[in-house]
């Protein structure tokens, strides 16, 4: 379509109802353009007197269109006046202010005053779902949200009721907007009509900083953006990623990160020796670990490295290659796999091959990355179940176990019991559990938002993510201390480590970074 092509060419064409992943309705009439058509008599190309919607007009070879003519600009200006006729102009108390296309387009294409002297229509805000509020009087009736529930979620909760300028968005009473993708309607809303209760009145958006990340919630690996300010995360938003999540993300991912701001995270390294507990400085950790592992090597203690699917590839590689350098026989083990529920395909009821979005049961971001690494590094490997047996049978006497799960109860009784048998347990995790309590060296972990690296999603795409915030006071990024333990000095940069890793393992060479959508597309 012409509109998409124009946006891709960097043009700022105002539009509300058009969205590249939803059906075209051409109802906001903001993107109208002039077009040349053959004159019926002479066959010569002439400007058509009527304006046509660019969102609905396919691009054709040799076509000529324009957006800078007075007729087009007048239409834009008029539309902006109409959109604001019944709008309460309550930007000071509106969450959308700052990322609102009513504001932006009014400024860029509209006019400064409204000529309507009569009272505006009043429309109360509506509670349309557990997570979403609808401020009807800010609505521009673009119907994106309705089309989303129809075409992507397939749940049809939102609908248009009434007609004319009384038309509004609503749900059937008792059947609220309650699908697992509902947060997307807030992203889709170009104005401040649909708002996220979780984010409501929390932060002005112009204070937020954006960091590109990958959602760790499941193996889909949605491209996301972390919006944060002064070290505090306020919300997650999906990023466009044509190969992975299109423009969407699920609510589980969108709201599932809150655990990382819980106050009871592990924050300082602990060393336990013969019933005594020490709290070493981070600076001393490399030496402590080195000492302990060299001793294992000397005694040829059979050792396992348990790699969590919550680790970034780079971190897993640092641990594995470091341990293998000292203990070439070390067994590499893929850690516990959080699996929950069944695959959910959307629109609801569609088969997997036709799904436009999928929430996967594997609730971790990097199983494939860790498995790939274990495979490619070769040597001894095992499963967690076998490891437990081997520990009981004293075939494994030392282990470096990584956790990092949001599930605090991830440690099974068997694993906890087995861990007590170990001569040395180096433990990396977020929260206290049976393993951390019995570890000889405890290294607090950071969450994905506090780290950088890459995850390999279920389709095998290696997707880098950046660090948004710092961990709680006292913590250090896993990558940083692993880097130092492995004998490097300086600042840990995932990219640098990835390069080194790719020299050894070519599979990690090609990363996938989703292209940014055109600047003026929304």
């Amino acid at each position: 379509m012409v509109l998409q092509a124009a946006l891709e060419a960097g043009m700022d064409i105002p539009h509300y109802c058009y969205h590249p992943s939803l059906s075209v309705v051409a109802s906001c009439r903001l993107c109208l353009m002039e077009m040349k058509v053959p004159d019926p008599k002479s066959g010569e190309l002439v400007w058509m007197p009527k304006l046509v919607p660019s969102c609905q007009t396919p691009v054709k070879e040799g076509m000529e269109v324009r957006f800078n003519s007075p007729a087009v600009q007048q239409n834009q200006q008029q539309c902006m006046e109409y959109f604001l006729l019944n709008h309460p102009l309550d930007c000071p108390v509106c969450d959308q202010a700052g990322e609102c296309y009513l504001q932006d387009y009014s400024y860029r294409f509209g006019q400064p005053t409204s000529r309507m002297v009569e009272e505006k229509l009043k429309n109360p805000k509506k509670d349309v779902g557990p997570r979403t509020l609808l401020y009807q009087d800010r609505c521009v009736m673009c119907s994106r949200c309705v089309r989303f529930t129809d075409e992507i979620a397939g749940t049809h909760e939102l609908t248009v009721v009434n007609r004319g300028n009384r038309a509004e968005i609503d749900v059937f009473p008792g059947l609220p907007l309650n699908n697992p993708l509902q947060g997307n309607v807030v992203d889709l809303c170009p104005v401040g009509s649909l708002l996220d209760k979780d984010f409501l009145f929390k932060q002005r958006v112009w204070l937020l900083r954006e960091t590109k990340s990958i959602c760790p919630g499941c193996s889909t690996g949605c491209a996301i953006r972390i919006d944060h300010n002064e070290g505090v995360i306020y919300r997650l938003k999906p990023r466009f990623s044509p190969k992975v999540n299109d423009y969407w993300m699920c609510d589980e991912g969108r709201f599932g990160w809150k655990y990382l701001q819980d106050g009871d995270r592990l924050t300082r390294p602990v060393v336990r020796r013969g019933g005594e507990v020490f709290y070493p400085r981070w600076e001393d950790i490399p030496e402590i670990i080195n000492y302990r592992l060299r001793k294992l090597a000397e005694q040829q203690t059979p050792t396992a490295v348990v790699l969590s699917p919550m680790l970034a590839c780079e971190e897993a590689w640092l641990i594995a290659s470091y341990v293998r350098a000292l203990l070439p026989q070390a067994v590499l083990v893929a850690s516990w796999l959080p699996v929950q529920g069944a695959e959910q395909n959307f629109p609801v009821g569609s088969p997997a091959e036709k799904a436009r979005f999928t929430i996967r049961p594997e609730k971790c971001p990097n199983r494939r990355g860790v498995e790939l690494l274990i495979n490619k590094l070769g040597g001894a490997s095992s499963t967690l179940e076998d490891l437990i047996k081997q520990v009981k049978e004293k075939k494994i006497k030392a282990a470096w176990i990584t956790g990092g799960y949001s599930q605090r109860d991830w440690v099974s009784k068997e694993l906890a019991a087995a861990a007590k048998e170990l001569e040395l347990l180096v433990m990396q995790d977020l929260y206290a559990n049976a393993l951390t309590d019995n570890s000889h060296v405890l290294l607090p972990s950071c969450c994905w938002a506090e780290r950088e690296g890459s995850f390999v999603n279920q389709a095998g795409l290696i997707q880098p993510f950046e660090r948004a915030v710092d961990g709680p006071e006292g913590t250090r990024r896993d990558g940083q201390y692993l880097y130092e333990i492995a004998g490097y000095s300086g600042l840990y940069r995932a990219e640098k480590v990835r390069e080194r890793m790719a020299e050894q393992l070519a599979e990690f060479r090609d990363i996938y970074v989703a292209p940014d959508p055109p600047e003026h597309q929304h």
Partner: protein, 190 residues
């Protein structure tokens, strides 16, 4: 004012409540299925039948129609709220529709509307205290050669004078048609 009529304050349906559509009504609605390619296309006929049955289309009825036609209840609500002839709130059994097209207004339609309001003591979208009458205005009844006109349910009154109104409304049989009726959109037993 005549934007109607979707009343958001209606009680939300009770999931425990027994169904309001009898099997005979469902069968009647199903009898329209062969006429169309999709079940959804039967929505307007179904709503006509149900409104005739209940006097309005309750949320409960909307949900049951949705299940019958295999669509989401919100799609039924959408349609009910779009078309002015469907109401989602209880109303008088007899709907008085007063035409206020330009022709009727020029010929005295405003006075007729006032007379109806005064006689029934109601405003637009109101139901008379005896529960009998419901008043709406219509943009055009296509009876302009007989202006001003009004309708009581299916029956049209021509060249109504304001002074005729109380007589018309007092007549018990004022909604009965003199021509043969088709029962196509009637619920069974009506």
């Amino acid at each position: 004012m005549s934007w109607k009529a979707y009343d958001r304050n209606q009680p939300v349906m009770d999931p425990q409540a027994p169904p309001v559509l009898t099997e005979a009504v469902r069968e009647k609605i199903r009898s329209f299925f062969p006429r169309y390619e999709t079940k959804r296309a039967v929505l307007l006929p179904a709503l006509h039948i149900v409104q005739e049955l209940l006097g309005y289309v309750s949320y409960q009825a909307m949900k049951e129609i949705a299940d019958l036609l295999e669509i989401h209840a919100s799609d039924v609500l959408d349609v009910v709220s779009f078309y002015t002839h469907f109401a989602n709130h209880p109303k008088g059994r007899k709907t008085v529709m007063v035409c206020r097209s330009l022709s009727c207004e020029l010929m005295g339609g405003k006075a007729v509307l006032e007379a109806v309001k005064n006689t029934l003591q109601i405003q637009e979208h109101g139901t008379s205290t005896d529960g009998q009458y419901f008043l709406v205005t219509e943009e055009c009844l296509a009876e302009c050669d007989h202006a001003p006109c009004l309708k009581i349910n299916e029956r049209t009154y021509h060249q109504v004078k304001a002074t005729d109104v109380s007589r018309i409304l007092a007549d018990e049989k004022n909604a009965e048609l003199s021509i043969a009726r088709s029962s196509l959109f009637d619920p069974p037993g009506h």
